[in-house]
Amino acid sequence: MESGQIFNLVPWVVFLPVIGLVVNLLLGRRLGEVFSGVVASLASGLTFVVAVLLAAALASAPNARVVSPWEWISIGELTVRWAFRVDTLSVVMMLAVSLVGTLIHIYSIGYMHSDVRHNGDPGRYTRFFVFMNLFIASMMLLVSADNFLMMFVGWEGVGLCSYLLIGFWYEKGKNGIGNAEAAKKAFITNRIGDFGLLIALFLIFGYFGTLQFDEVFRQAASVAAAHPGAMLLITLAMLLGVSGKSAQIPLFVWLPDAMAGPTPVSALIHAATMVTAGVYLVARSTAFYSVVPVAQTVVMWVGALTALLAATIALGQYDIKKVLAYSTISQLGFMVAAVGMGAMVAGMFHLVTHAFFKGLLFLSAGSVIQGMERGMHGGDDSAEFDPQDMRNMGGLRKKMPLTFWVYLIGGLALSGIAPLAGFFSKDEILGAAYTGHNAVFVLLVLTAFLTAFYMGRQLVMVFFGKPLSAAAEHASESPRVMTIPLVILALLSLLGGALNLPGVHTLEHWLAHTLGEVKPAEFIWLVAGLSFLLALLGLGLAWLIYTRREQKSGADDPLKKPLGALYTGMERKWWVDEFYQALILNPYKAFAQFIAEPVDLGIIDRVGGGLAAGMRALAEGLRQLENGYVRSYALWMVVGLLAIMMFLFLR
């Protein structure tokens, strides 16, 4: 096949998963679990193959290609097509998404097999894979779009999948409705972000006359010169979208709740891929942000602050997935800060490596949880028992050795231990911050330290020490179908740094075709050394503190005493949820109630009724004039006559 024709394959990155989901919809339930899982994994795998083909083709001819098969909306000047874009940036995303996605699909075949049984509805197995394929399709739509609107389709599409998968066990959770609530929260929070993105879209169309990427970015500089305010608005509105999707301040609150979804979902959507869409968007819009320094600064600060805030909260969590969730927010903060500083490549690099190691961590956590669940069924713990609470774990190193090793690799990569993937990518970000953004640098370094510390804490609590519950006592290793993807991801986390090794800068050159030539990030020994040391320090400190803690199920955290109120804040997520509840949700509810009853039913609805009642009263009043007495009728006639005469003579 000629390379030109290979590019025409790009729509298939969306079609393949769609085909997969349709097949599963029609046949999945009848043909059983294995069929569903295989079809879905195959669909995702083939997508990866297509992405590889595209990448290969692009390697020889790195210019962007657009495949634009159909018209979509065309009214007046507004012309939007279904147009797929193949360039180095989109292909990186495609590769990462489909690779991690495929691995997670395979993992899910095993995971969901026991999950559906644990939750008591095996019939829902196929549905999971339908949603997963839908997600792959949406995500591919998002990254392969050639215009903002089509990207928005994917953008909201992944939001939908997130909604569906968080609420996958919609009858579970707090009061039976917790999961559904979490799903709704995710969707609506995302919609608030999407509001910003929509406004940005409107503005872009207004100032650029099109939504097509090339056209828009080509004019970015000139428009920024002519309408600096508009560009600022566009970039800030976009940032709102980014903060919704990538869980940044102020819209990060949905992501921890999103852990209500099955663990593979958390890995795929809420760690590896979807949440990075915001980073992708900023990277894609480099041309915008590079001409609006103010916006860049805002983005950078949002990222940095989110990184630190989330890291502190992660310290105070006991749920194995919650820790990882806040860690994800924190790492997304890193990426956002990076793209805010203009270090697009560093951001993308971290995005990819993070996809590997955080995907790995979540999947391993899933393995741990199911190990615990298996232990639960063996043991005699009560129904209230939480298999995700780290305070119930401990000593799993021996029960689940493979899981332990891969978890360790993921944890070290996240902590930034050389030479694992996370070290290189995080170092690049720190390096970028070091050269010119001192305050941010300090924040990020601090975050890096905390990251290592909470990972150390988690590793110790989960795998070391002695089992703290019967379930942990009886936990067992997961099946092959789950562990193989873990191993592959562990390898990727080990070696992912090779993508953009200092001095080689493979990714840098690759992305330069799309993002433009930028000065390759320097490898600063001081920064690298500092971050490595801090990582070691964090892990070591965690080891010291947590191996010596009181080893009892449900015991308080050893940091609680020394840190006091500060730790309570971390534990309670700095009361952000409560704050929003009090500031936005409750007032909205009350306001809606006010509008719905006193205003709508009480005033507006009564106007019509009031007129009718008035009419009735008037009728009753006038009716009294008809009193039945002939003489009064005669009087009326005479009065009428006299009135007529008076009128005629007096006028």
Binding site: W70, W72, E77, V153, E156, A180, K184, A592, V607
Partner: protein
């Protein structure tokens, strides 16, 4: 196009054949009436497709015109003047599509006086077709008012508990507006020598008169749409009407108001339109938010959907008065979209009601597990209504908002920005509804054994949802159909803008 009979006549009056047949044969049994009605409406639908095939979408003007003199009255001619253009053809298709679906939806729900129900329904179809196809103002008014009668009986005879109140309220509100419209029609007809719409667009009505007339026509349409604060008939009418009635009410009857703006107010009173557009848009935006906010606090699922209509129709009005190509085309498309998605929602509410005989959301919960197919199809419908990209609602809302945002006549992006908040609020109340009914655990033992969708019910929803996907993914044919007509309309407005400067 040399067919012997004008297709418009067939589309409009074919339902009457069904009425006649029902009156002749209706006494033989319930099913006879049902089948006659269904087949008649299906044939009408086929006829409307035939109409579509004959329609030349490249032309902007009126097509397949038929103009017969009907009567002369003091020097004015009232003509039997029908015609179709890019704006009305979509409405005709929507009507022809929704009627058989609505009829099929009553298969189990209506057991009493079936032949009466079916006759009224077919009469209603004729009335609605007439409204969309009339090009003579008096004829339009006749059809417009005539639709009240069958709808009144449909609500009053086959509705739920407060049906009488709702039916009377519906008629009174609608007539309050339309009577003033009649005054407007008479005034225009007398002052400008005729009721023929196609001849009136050239007449330069003085500005002050335009304002008054805009008000007289606009009030009728605004009540029908309904625009805030004239909406309070709608929740009652929708809630109390039988399912099929609600489907048609939401799907088609409300569109008559929005269509009226496009057909009368814009071309006949362009200067007034220009002046009042920001006010109308302002009311529309209030309606969008207001409907969404009130919907959120409803306990009755049907009322919730009813209030959602207020919100959705707000988008239509906003797009209309944006007076940009995107706005107006989006508005027309959104009329179709709302017909599909809200029609489907009402069908679903009806299905729920048939199963449990309650519409309170608190009586449901966890139904997705019990009735997975119903749950899934509801989800798609809800998403279409929420405006999820890839489904129909998004295309309409996006183009409307885009049009409003850049409208030089509204001259402020704030209308669109505030309206965009409605997109968030839509998610709030619709997901709230979905969660209350379908998510969570099954709270009531009565719900444990509910039956999932029957094939008939799937057939009801399937065409609507397929169209939802079609419009969401490939709306181009729809836009192509209407764009010449819209361009013509906007060109007219544009000339007024230019002369004003």
């Amino acid at each position: 196009m040399n067919s012997a009979i004008n297709p418009l006549l067939l589309v409009t009056f074919f339902p009457l054949v069904g009425v006649l047949l029902i009156l002749l044969l209706g006494s033989t049994g319930k099913n006879t009436a049902r089948w006659i009605a269904l087949l008649t409406s299906l044939v009408t639908f086929a006829l409307s497709l035939w109409l579509l095939m004959q329609f030349d979408s490249t032309k902007g003007g009126i097509q397949m015109e038929i103009n017969l003199p009907w009567l002369t009255l003091g020097g004015n001619t009232v003509g039997f003047h029908l015609g179709v253009d890019g704006i009305s053809i979509l409405m005709v298709l929507l009507t022809a599509l929704l009627t058989p679906i609505a009829i099929l939806s009553t298969w189990k729900a209506v057991e009493e006086r079936v032949s009466g129900f079916m006759s009224f329904f077919l009469l209603l179809e004729t009335g609605m077709m007439g409204v969309f196809l009339s090009l003579d103002m008096v004829l339009f008014y006749i059809f417009w008012e005539f639709t009240l009668v069958p709808m009144y009986f449909l609500i009053g005879l086959w509705g739920s508990q407060r049906r009488v109140y709702a039916a009377v309220k519906f008629v009174l509100y609608t007539m309050a507006g339309s009577l003033l419209m009649l005054a407007g029609i008479l005034w225009v007809g007398l002052t400008y020598g005729g009721f023929d719409l196609t001849k009136l667009t050239d007449s330069a009505i003085p500005f002050t008169a335009q304002l008054w007339l805009f008000g007289a026509f606009g009030l009728a349409f605004a009540i029908k749409v309904p625009m805030w604060p004239l909406h309070s008939w709608l929740p009652d009418a929708h809630t109390e009407a039988p399912t099929a009635g609600s489907v048609i009410l939401a799907g088609v009857l409300l569109k008559m108001g929005a269509y009226g703006f496009l057909r009368f107010n814009l071309p006949l009173f362009p200067q007034a339109t220009l002046t009042l557009a920001p006010w109308m848009a302002g009311l529309a935006v209030i309606g969008i938010l207001y409907g969404a906010i009130v919907a959120f606090r409803q306990k009755d699922v049907k009322r919730l959907v009813a209030y959602s209509s207020i919100s959705h129709l707000g988008f239509v009005v906003l797009g209309t008065f944006a007076l940009t190509a995107q706005g107006v085309q989006g508005a027309i498309l959104q009329m179709v979209n709302h017909g599909l998605s809200t029609g489907a929602l009402f069908l679903i509410v009806g299905m729920l009601y048939e199963r449990r005989h309650t519409r309170l959301m608190a009586d449901f919960g966890g139904l997705w597990r019990v009735t997975p197919l119903l749950g899934s199809l509801t989800l798609v419908t809800v998403l279409s209504s929420v405006g999820l990209p890839g489904l129909n609602g998004f295309v309409g809302e996006f183009t409307i908002l885009m049009g409003a945002f850049h409208s030089t006549i509204l001259a402020s992006p704030w209308f669109a920005v505030v309206a965009t908040l409605g997109v968030i609020l839509a998610a709030v109340y619709l997901l709230h509804m979905f969660q209350q009914v379908f998510l969570g655990p099954v709270r009531h033992p009565e719900n444990e054994k509910l039956a999932d969708l029957s094939p008939r019910e799937v057939i009801l929803l399937a065409p609507l949802l397929l169209l939802a996907f079609w419009i969401g993914l490939y709306p181009a044919p729809f836009f192509r159909l209407m764009s010449p007509a819209v361009e013509q309309l906007l060109a007219l407005i544009q000339t007024v803008v230019q002369t004003a400067h």
